[in-house]
Symmetry: C2
Amino acid sequence: SKSYNITLLPGDGIGPEVISVAKNALQLVASLEGFKIAFEEMPMGGAALDVVGVPLPDETLNSAKKSDATLLGAIGGYKWDNNEKHLKPETGLLQLREGLQVFANLRPATVLPQLVDASTLKKEVAEGVDLMVVRELTGGIYFGKPRGFGTNENGQEIGFNTEVYAAYEIDRIARIAFETARKRRGKLCSVDKANVLEASMLWRKRVTAIASEYPDVELSHMYVDNAAMQLVRNPKQFDTIVTNNIFGDILSDEASMITGSIGMLPSASLGEKGPGLFEPIHGSAPDIAGQDKANPLATMLSAAMLLKYGLCEEKAAQRIEAAVLDTLNRGFRTGDIHSAGQKLVGCKEMGEEVLKSI
Amino acid sequence: SKSYNITLLPGDGIGPEVISVAKNALQLVASLEGFKIAFEEMPMGGAALDVVGVPLPDETLNSAKKSDATLLGAIGGYKWDNNEKHLKPETGLLQLREGLQVFANLRPATVLPQLVDASTLKKEVAEGVDLMVVRELTGGIYFGKPRGFGTNENGQEIGFNTEVYAAYEIDRIARIAFETARKRRGKLCSVDKANVLEASMLWRKRVTAIASEYPDVELSHMYVDNAAMQLVRNPKQFDTIVTNNIFGDILSDEASMITGSIGMLPSASLGEKGPGLFEPIHGSAPDIAGQDKANPLATMLSAAMLLKYGLCEEKAAQRIEAAVLDTLNRGFRTGDIHSAGQKLVGCKEMGEEVLKSI
Ligand SMILES: CC(C)[C@H](C(=O)O)[C@@H](O)C(=O)O
Ligand SMILES: CC(C)[C@H](C(=O)O)[C@@H](O)C(=O)O
């Protein structure tokens, strides 16, 4: 029978709690669908800094590269916030993305009927929101060179970064976005700042060029400031959004908060070939770490994305997705999505209920 | 008696309609407060492109430089959207900001009790929102060099921009922000991406250094992706926000949409010395241009900011602000903020009602 290797990176804060729950779910659906998973758990982020002194040890990156897919919990915490750049947990995450060459970050933002009240938006604005942000993840201002510190002609201290995109980087993320839109409702909105930035002008030009390969997908363009407004005004207008690394960072977080339940949202980061990286979009929540309060559903849904996009085990993925919905329908809620009349549970118990539903 | 010169830049779309109404209000409060205003109306944006062939004619910039303050309507429209960069209306606006050296852009976002229903946010989340975004306006990625197009080592076409800040640029905007917070509720949140970008690390370092001059103001720091979320989750947590040019573009637009009434929001752009630039934050709305449908209140409130920040005519400013509230209390609404039971009026009639209230 088939067998997969999965690297688990629990990371920091609530990371270990949510990963342990998701691991159980992966194991269960694997046995039900008749395949095997071998897990390798590796240190990363603050956890790695404390033990090995770097945020992404070579062994961790190698394990991720050799495995069929990687599931990450969360990284970061107050403890390491004032570290120098190369010793920040976040730097480990950027090195991991770069090392795995996962340039396409898929971030769904869906308002489930069960959780529509969790949104701060009015019910009629929030209900039915179902959008996907496709964020470029290994280019742009996050990685552009030159970058650093220096002095200008007047001897003043400066800090600088470079926003740069090459045509091929835009083309490949555009194709992923068009493919994604095609499998959804056939609408793609490309977000840029082409009225000001040259990097965005090239972005718009290339996305428009690639559109000719996808005549069945309806392409529109929007400036990033307007997109930030439209997500608040009427998020339902969006199906698939494609944008650069930094705009994607901002807009996908905004979109996730519009759902009101960021404890529910998974993400997938994919490369041209090679293993993908899957992680909940929430952070390490150090304030509730170790208290069995975390919502493990985002990580479970990330495990479902891992099965679907990473291993092509669509049926196993659907088992997890269906079980998460069933568990919500049975009234179980962690603190972040709890409201009156529902059963408040901790991270572990939520995990067990999902296993029952599976 | 005192006399001021004001440059009016009606611009494109609904610009001329809202400027004409605001001009009447300025004239009326001037006569009531016993000072004189001489207006000079100049072409800018698409209107200037059509007549003179450039988006910011020298005569227009010179008029703005020589005057005591400039009031701008709005610029841009479909007609010029595909123009080359140096022939875009937006480029004229950037040249104007740079030419006037107005590095500090103040963008209030306030939810008026009369208009709380206009927000897409739940009433309890929206009501009482009263924040100010202080956006750096003449630096960062908007103006950083090098910028442009080229080819990389593999012969691939690239587009690039530079995000760069010098210490003095951060220091001066930080001081404006601390002063602003001091006059408000004494809380300043500096927004950056210091976990990834060197330009943001310098930003955070300098803002923190300047904080020692303002021990009475409470300073906090937030990453831009989190800020985009927190504006949706709980906008009331913010008093004053200070951030760079591009993050300020995105977050101030998001904040304005949270109020639900961007037709109500003014802005002021100020330099170290020299005349300021005042404009509504809404765009040129070409779809309703010339139909007497535009909401002139944002421009009237921008005129009030002009009186207050530009001419130090605080009393005259208060007259306009009070009249706008009074007109809303009397139930007059343009289409964008209209709801059942209120009097729907056009741009001109709204202007006349505000004059009556003054
Ligand atoms: C932790 C940080 C470096 C990261 C990013 O900015 O990409 C995070 O905000 C995210 O969106 O995954
Ligand atoms: C028109 C455009 C260049 C401008 C900007 O990005 O600054 C606008 O969006 C604004 O915020 O005033």
